[in-house]
């Protein structure tokens, strides 16, 4: 078992023979794709919560690419292969965490705000928009916010993961 659970600044990394998965908890908006799609690898109830032996490399990459934030990112252990990764690999560290890759691409563009209503989870807002709440007005730029949809969050209006505890099923 070549399971690694090592720290890097702001998070942890996990590897198998082929890839390394980076996890940055502060970026997680509880969109829940990871454990919904691949609980064998991503199990929030287990420690360590990521088990790289739980599935195939291809499946792990597929699911990491679904994460809407930079909370999960991945790279090949073989650096030569990282140079060849295309932009369809959304959460490759080259795109998600360039500071870990040491490259300087990806200029943000102007585009419509992306609003995703997650399955049994929050509303995930991404882009440039003005958020008005509790009498505050906040300019949100190139970032991601998730708004509670289940009514149970203790940090309204934001999602804090309670939807999973209460078994929110819409």
């Amino acid at each position: 078992m070549d399971r690694e659970d090592k720290q890097f600044s702001g998070g942890r990394k996990y590897r198998n023979d082929e890839i390394t998965v980076y996890w940055k908890p502060s970026a997680c908006v509880h969109a829940s794709y990871c454990y919904r799609e691949l609980i064998e690898v991503f199990d929030p109830g287990r420690r360590p919560w990521v088990d790289m032996n739980g599935s195939t490399t291809a499946k792990i990459i597929e699911v990491v690419n679904l994460c809407p934030t930079e909370a999960l990112a991945w790279k090949w252990n073989d650096d030569e292969k990282n140079g060849l990764v295309g932009s369809d690999q959304l959460n490759h560290i080259k795109f998600r965490r360039p500071e870990l890759m040491n490259t300087n691409d990806s200029v943000p563009e102007e585009h419509p705000v992306s609003i995703k209503v997650m399955v049994d989870g929050p509303i995930v807002l991404k882009g440039n928009f003005t958020l008005v709440y509790n009498g505050n007005k906040k300019e949100v730029q190139e970032s991601i916010i998730s708004i509670c949809r289940c009514g149970a969050s203790d940090h309204q209006p934001f999602c804090d993961g309670q939807h999973r505890k209460i078994g929110f099923n819409d």
Binding site: I115, K116, L125, N128, Q141, R149, D170
Partner: protein, 63 residues
């Protein structure tokens, strides 16, 4: 890298106290469970968990 580029706000998203999330402007809305899409204009999304017309608000939050 165009670090100083100004990003114009594309939409106004308002959290209505004890009510829905109001969204106005340029956006693309996707509901992953019901597989529906919506864009532009104005929508109200349920935040209370009780709407019978999710993801939209149907006034149930008042009950």
């Amino acid at each position: 890298m165009e670090e100083n580029k100004e990003h114009k706000s594309q939409a106004i998203i308002e959290v209505i106290d004890f009510g829905p999330l109001k969204i106005m402007g340029n956006f693309i809305l996707k509901d992953l469970k019901r597989d529906t899409k919506d864009s532009q204009g104005e929508v109200w999304l349920c935040r209370c968990g009780k709407s019978g017309n999710k993801p939209y608000c149907d006034g149930s939050h008042k009950r």
